[in-house]
Amino acid sequence: MRVNIYGRAWKPNSERFQGVGGTQPMLSLILAGALLYITFVYLKQQNARERRIETQRDLPREQLLPHHYTSFVEVENKLWAATAEGARTANWDTARIEFRNAELQLVRKNVQGLQEDFAIGNRIFAVVMGHSPEVKMLRQLEWQRIKIEFPYYVWHRLICFRLWMGQVSPRELRRLTEIVATLAYEVRSMLNVFERGGNVDFVDYLVRKC
């Protein structure tokens, strides 16, 4: 055992000593909590990645890219059909409609699909950014990413809140779909650039091994 308390018990020294942890206990505790939490989240992400790579090995490539967002028209049609005729107004887009459980479930499933699309797109984007050899380029790519990420989280939270209230706004749902579609388009065009440059292995790595 490291019984190395020599010198620490020297009273004058210990009394006058003020460490970071001592002067700002709250900050230290927050930091300690943040460290434990983020370690747990990171290790969970790493394990999830290993499991994902295993399960998606034989899946067709299309399924490994964002694809749920394309079903928005179908969802909107179903919502339109489920809306009482009196409620179908000219401002359908801006309306906040209260639906039955079945339609709410449909919207929830759609939002979940969008969430999956976003996770896939964001992951590919992140790995590409990690390969950036210049800080300036990383900054520019990061800015492009934030421009998509920020509105996505805002609209996603808002839609989830509305769903919790039992309401759906087609306009908000469309906005979220557009954001995810933009990300999907950017990711696909990114992969096209790499493929055209003859980097098929890199594209395969991005799609299957990240």
């Binding site: 055992m1 490291r2 019984v3 190395n4 308390i5 020599y6 010198g7 620490r8 018990a9 020297w10 009273k11 004058p12 020294n13 006058r16 000593f17 003020q18 460490g19 970071v20 942890g21 001592g22 206990p25 230290s28 505790l29 930091l31 300690a32 460290l35 434990l36 983020i38 370690t39 989240v41 990171y42 290790l43 992400q45 790493q46 990645r49 992951r123 992140a126 790995v127 590409v128 990690g130 390969h131 050899p133 800080v135 380029m137 990383l138 520019q140 790519l141 492009q144 421009k147 557009e178 933009t182 950017e186 065009s189 990114m190 650039v193 790499f194 440059g197 980097n199 292995d201 890199f202």
Partner: protein, 248 residues
């Protein structure tokens, strides 16, 4: 128990040839073991309260502290790549400078500058390592950085040790004198927990380390990413134009 764990860890580091994969972490483990034996030898030959024991303890503490800082820096270097590392290395350098400056300022105010310097640096380092690990993990999450199993355990061990040290320093500071032995014991136990975390993956042979394939050369990635950025800007412009006409 602590010495046995240290010896076990060191033996496993050698047996599994971890020094090839994480040389600075291996050096840290070696120094911890050497420090333990040097202290025991000094206490045995010169006595616990001798001047030799005092110098030995404080000088070895400094060496082990530097080794710990380097082991964490090695983890950061292995985890983050390319430009992410360029950004992170600057932050690390600033943080290291701040820790040293803080230690020197505190030491200058005290009657025993060398000891105060080491104590301040030790506490600042615990705090700094926690900040660095939070930043490393956050960047890891942000850029989907993947690290190997053993590196993950080393990271977890440092996280547990640093968290415990910070909490310990925060709570025990006021009662440090009164419950001094508890303070030291808690610190020792947290290090033993960290060692157990490091030992567990080394009990089995490590998977052979294959260097990650070079998927894109530097020149290639620069030209590709420039094209990607250009496309993205075009897409963003197009989306803005559509939004302007549609959401009016």
């Amino acid at each position: 128990m602590g010495t046995a764990l240290k010896l076990g860890l060191f033996a496993l580091v050698l047996a599994r040839r971890l020094y090839r994969r994480l040389p600075l972490f291996s050096l840290y483990v070696a120094l911890v073991v050497a420090d333990d034996f040097a202290l025991r030898w000094t206490y045995h030959h010169f006595g616990y309260t001798s001047l030799a024991a005092k110098y030995e303890y404080w000088s070895s503490l400094g060496v082990v502290l530097v080794a710990r800082a380097l082991a964490v820096a090695e983890l950061c270097w292995r985890g983050l790549r390319n430009s992410v590392w360029l950004v992170a290395s600057r932050v690390l350098a600033i943080l290291a400078f701040a820790i040293l400056a803080y230690g020197i300022i505190e030491a200058a105010k005290n009657s025993s500058p060398a000891i105060t310097f080491l104590l301040t640096v030790e506490r600042s380092l615990d705090f700094g390592i926690a900040v660095i690990l939070v930043a490393l993990l956050r960047l890891g999450l942000r850029y989907e950085v993947w690290i190997g199993g053993i590196e993950r355990r080393v990271l977890l061990g440092f996280s547990v040790f640093s968290t415990f040290q910070i909490v310990n320093n925060t709570f025990m500071k006021q009662w440090m004198m009164k419950y001094f032995s508890w303070w030291v014991s808690a610190s020792v136990v947290s290090f033993e927990v960290a060692m157990l975390i490091w030992i567990a993956p080394l009990l089995r042979p490590l998977p052979t380390m294959t260097p990650p394939p070079t998927l894109l050369s530097e020149e290639e990635s620069v030209s590709m990413l420039k094209q990607v950025l250009e496309r993205m800007r075009k897409i963003a412009e197009e989306m803005k134009r559509i939004a302007r006409t549609k959401w009016k």
